[in-house]
């Protein structure tokens, strides 16, 4: 029996020193390690054995160590080389994770009574990438086995990804990557379809070796895929469509592969390059919301996939606003020490100003104690207003300011801008389509806010033009198909009772269409939340913030204003994009406030 001294590692990871007992030609036994490659947390070893079907391993201290994974296969070349039959030779591929031994002992299984020799191998220093690539290429037909165990190591994954071949006819897996669009800092989404027999696993691999199984992707059915693959896959092609978030940082132009792992084999199915996604949040949403996520999975999609992208884009849009100060024009003499800043954003049309200024002109108390601030939130209004406002002042004699911030900011942003150019100790948010119909309304609201220390925010009763209630306080209703609490206006559409003798009723929240609060409270809260997409829920958000500070919300009952709110908020068949934007906002609001609302409305589990 030949014996060999331990070999202290090898050059470039290649060991290749076989030990073969050739004394008995009918019973040749042998053992060899071909390669041993440490990289990141793993050590991968290949070799072969003659005369046994398995091998065992011990560490430096003589303890048996069990690998992460071991794969046996034929080695016809070795069989031919040593003149033995194929069945007597087994190749092996072994993967170790975080083994701290320096010397491996490779041996015949310990239960074998005649063990001709043990092979002692020292761990080589960290291999060059060439060696790693050589090992991987030599084992391309076992790429699935390698990936399954090495998925957490980008170095290994990247190397394996390079040698993947296109699938063969035996593997029942089909798939295609259709889009990969993202923003470098935050990440992007990958959209495509994949369908296979259940034993096959799909995964996405990035150029940098990042690996992700497709199990967390949002799935939906693709009728076109079902039809195209029905002869091969039948019912397995159901829910083939997918959308998967890929966390940043991303390098635009780098690639993503869709691969299929079929037992020990793996194949590449499709490749796509990262492209830039729209950076304007609404444009991103218009593009991304086209992908048909089933409605009952929409909230899940936002939570696990691109909710974070939209949020980032909205924040970025706000930060990138022009830092130059807004343009403020005063018409007439604004009162020097106003008590209330009335902030009115304008979008799309400004003819409401006529009706509002007309009403204001009849309300001496309002004109003497408030500064009226119109905020242009629509570039198309800048020119018409610059010609009309002087005429409005001359006609009605009501002084007012007009503010233009350079771009459209949405309701919350425009209102916050208007508040920032005012000085009065109280602020009143007023929608441009809310028209008072009796003077003294502002005085009444101020009096109530002043005389009720517990009330932080005061709203008002708003009626539709035909006299039905449009708003008389808001509360929340759990909407199961959205997984969120939605704002509800109880009594909306019903006949308004006579104005109530008791001046204020308490509610959960009130609309910002007509909302009065102290500037100090506004500042403490931080103003209206501008991070909802396009706009929504800002009023319930600010009310809940006030409640969190221990304050209550009231709604003035002694009079009403008219709100020309479009009555077209519908239960079914809405504009699909608008519906999804609303769902995004509801999801965001629910993340912030879900539990607080549940506790507020009476505790216990969510309905």
């Amino acid at each position: 029996m030949k014996k060999i001294e331990p070999i202290p590692g090898a050059v470039n990871g290649k060991v290749g020193v076989p030990l073969v007992n050739a004394e008995d030609p009918d019973n040749i036994r042998g053992l060899s390690i071909d390669r041993i490659v440490p990289a990141s947390d793993f050590i991968v070893m290949t070799g072969w054995v003659i005369g046994e079907t398995t091998v065992e391993f011990k560490d430096s201290s003589g303890q048996i160590i069990v690998p992460e994974g071991i794969n046996y296969f034929t080695r016809a070349d070795v069989a031919t080389g040593y003149g033995v039959s194929d069945e007597r030779v087994r190749g092996f591929l072994v993967i170790w994770k975080r083994i701290s031994t320096e010397i491996f002992t490779v041996m015949f299984p310990s239960k074998t009574d005649r063990r001709p020799f043990d092979l002692h191998i020292g761990l080589p220093p960290a291999s060059s990438t060439a060696t790693l690539h050589d090992l991987v290429s030599e084992n391309w037909s076992r790429a699935g086995f390698l990936l399954t165990h090495l998925a957490s190591s980008p170095i290994w994954v990247a190397a394996i990804a390079k040698i993947l071949k296109v699938r063969d006819a035996l593997t029942l897996a089909r798939g295609h990557l259709e889009h990969a669009r993202g923003i470098s800092e935050v990440g992007g989404i990958i959209v495509g379809w994949a369908a296979a027999e259940p034993r096959i696993h799909f995964a996405l691999i990035g150029d940098d070796g990042r690996f992700k199984y497709l199990t967390q992707a949002v799935r939906w059915n693709r009728q076109d895929v079902m039809e195209a693959t029905s002869h091969e896959l039948g019912g397995y092609a159901f829910d083939a469509g997918f959308l998967q978030f890929w966390e940043g940082p991303l390098r635009l132009g780098s690639r993503v592969q869709l691969i299929a792992i079929d037992g020990e084999r793996a194949f590449e199915l499709s490749v796509v390059e990262w492209q830039a996604a729209p950076v304007d949040p609404v444009s991103y949403a218009r593009w991304a919301f086209e992908f048909p996520t089933p409605m009952n999975k929409f909230a899940e999609r936002l939570s696990n996939h691109d909710g974070i992208i939209i949020n980032y884009l909205v924040e970025r849009k706000i930060e990138s606003r022009l830092k130059s100060p807004p343009v403020v024009i005063c018409y007439g003499q604004i009162p020097e020490n106003p008590e209330v800043s009335i902030v009115i954003p304008l979008y799309g049309r400004h003819d409401f100003m006529l009706n509002q200024l007309l009403e204001f002109s009849l309300d001496e108390g309002l004109v003497s104690k408030s500064e009226i601030i119109y905020v242009i939130d629509d570039p198309r209004l800048v020119d018409p207003m610059s010609s009309d406002c002087a005429l409005f002042y001359d006609t009605y004699g009501v002084p007012f300011k007009v503010v233009w911030g350079g771009s459209n900011r949405g309701f919350a942003g425009a209102t916050n801008l208007g508040v920032s150019v005012g000085v009065a100790p109280k602020v009143l948010f007023l929608n441009s389509d809310v028209i008072p119909v009796e003077p003294g309304w502002l005085n009444a609201m101020v009096a109530v806010l002043d005389s009720h220390a517990n009330i932080g925010i005061l709203g008002a009763r708003l009626l539709y033009p035909n006299g039905a209630i449009q708003h008389n306080g808001m509360d929340f209703r759990w909407e199961p198909s959205w997984g969120a609490h939605l704002n509800k206006h109880p009594g909306s559409g019903f006949e308004a009772g006579r104005a109530d003798v008791s001046d204020v009723s308490m509610c959960i929240a009130v609309t910002a269409a007509c909302m009065l609060l102290d500037r100090k409270l506004y500042a403490e809260i931080g103003g209206l939340d501008e991070l909802f997409l396009i706009g929504d829920f800002e009023d319930s958000d600010i009310c809940l913030k006030a409640r969190k500070l221990g304050l209550e919300i009231g709604c003035l009952q002694s009079l009403s204003l008219v709100h020309l709110e479009r009555q077209s908020l519908s239960g079914i068949g809405t504009d699909k994009f608008r519906d999804k934007v609303a769902r995004y906002n509801a999801w965001r609001h629910e993340k912030k406030w879900g539990q607080f609302i549940v506790d507020l409305m009476g505790g216990g589990k969510k309905k």
Binding site: G467, G493, F494, Q567, S568, G571
Partner: protein
């Protein structure tokens, strides 16, 4: 007692007989002392109103934007709105009694919702056609052959609609009947329809006949003897194939020319242009020579308020419908204006018009028989006078409301 009247339309926007009847009940209830408050809810399809939303129209009157989604089962297109907006509305109105004159265009689910939200409330369902029984526009006319249908059964209905199995018709009937069970009482304007519903499964002890109220009659006996009323005939209504205008025109053609020259026929009809091309062609072919002869006047559509004046210019009102009808408004209107009716002798028509007492029957869909009746009617003025005297004054609105209130007091 607080009352709520629900209909599948509001007369401001929709002019069918059933919604007008429902609204008349609403206004009559306002005058009743035992009613402290009454509200009307009419379905609409106004695009500016969010789907499913309920909005006040004026004091005491509300509109509800709703639709049927599944006509086979009479299920609402917006069932969530029934559980939200409608439920909230019921709680807001809080009626002690609900008179519901329809669920079409809204959904049969409203019945169970009323019962669930207002457990003590009395619910009276008025049936104006056979839609719960018959999938074919609620008419009980066979689908392909257009023959009259005398009886429903899951196999018969499957023959009319092979695309729905008998099992599906059973499921339909089960679904609708279980919803009907929410009501306390059922009202039919005709005994004929009442009997059809009892055959279908409604309990006869809880199913009543109450005729639709009519405006108070103002009989004008003064000129009756001087004019040749007995030679003047008129048809009022939609010109659809079911109203039998083509049967009337054919009957006129079958009269001998010299007898036809003695009569005049007016057609006060609307919506011929919305009918199938074949009907429009047929009507045009039949009416052209009659108009040329001067015996037929095609007057065209009319506003409801013009009806009394137009009816009073003629002697006889013709109702040649080819289907059962229930209680055609035009018959009641003719009686209010003291005009006898010549009608097909089937269904609700034969019930409301008594042959030889206040009108004449002819064999349905038979122009020859109608021609004979036209000749008989126009030849003897004494016959006409006798039939005029035989006319009973229909219930007025207040009397109708009182009948309804008797059910629930």
């Amino acid at each position: 007692m607080r009352a709520l009247v629900i209909a599948h339309g509001h007369p401001d926007f929709s002019v069918g007989g059933a919604e007008i009847a429902a609204f008349n009940l609403f206004t009559a209830l306002k005058r009743q002392r035992s009613i402290s408050d009454v509200v009307f809810l009419g379905r609409c399809d106004h695009q500016n109103l969010g789907h499913g939303a309920i909005m006040m129209l004026r004091h005491g009157e509300y509109l509800w934007r709703q639709d049927i989604g599944d006509w086979f089962r009479l299920k609402s297109a917006n069932p969530v709105a029934i559980l939200t907006a409608f439920r909230e509305f019921l709680q807001f109105v809080s009626p002690d009694v609900v008179f519901i004159h329809h669920f079409v265009h809204m959904g049969v689910e409203v019945l169970r919702e009323i019962r669930r939200t207002l457990p003590q409330c009395k619910i009276v369902l008025t049936l104006h056609e056979y839609v719960a029984i018959c999938n074919r526009n609620g008419q009980m006319v066979k689908n392909k052959t257009k023959r009259l249908c005398y009886r429903e059964s899951i196999e018969d209905c499957h023959s009319c609609f092979p695309e729905y199995s008998p099992q599906e018709f059973w499921l339909r009937k089960h679904y609708i009947q279980r919803h009907f069970e929410a009501a306390n009482f059922f009202v039919s304007p005709s005994d004929f329809l009442r009997q059809r519903y009892i055959d279908w499964g409604l309990p006869k002890e809880y199913t009543y006949v109450i005729e639709n109220g009519q405006p108070t009659a103002h009989p004008d006996v003064a000129n009756l003897k001087n004019e040749n009323y007995h030679t003047k005939f008129a048809f009022f209504g939609q010109v659809t194939e079911y109203k039998g205008v083509d049967v009337l025109l054919q009957a006129m053609h079958l009269m001998p020319k010299e007898l036809r020259a003695k009569i005049s026929v007016e057609i006060h009809g609307a919506n011929l242009e919305s009918q199938g091309g074949w009907l429009q062609e047929l009507v045009e072919k039949l009416r052209k020579p009659l108009i040329a002869e001067g015996v037929l006047r095609w007057v065209g559509p009319y506003e409801h308020a013009e009806l009394p004046r137009r009816m009073k210019k003629v002697g006889w009102v013709l109702v040649p419908s080819i289907w059962w009808e229930n209680s055609p408004m035009v018959i009641q209107e003719a009686f209010v204006n003291r005009r006898p009716v010549i009608c097909a002798g089937i269904g609700g028509m034969a019930e409301k018009v008594k042959n030889g007492v206040d009108g004449l029957h002819f064999e349905v869909r038979n122009p020859t028989d109608l021609a004979d009746k036209l000749i008989e009617a126009s030849s003897d003025p004494l016959l006409w006078m006798k039939l005029v005297r035989g006319i009973r004054t229909p219930l007025n609105y207040d009397q109708c409301a009182e009948e309804y209130l008797k059910l629930v007091s």
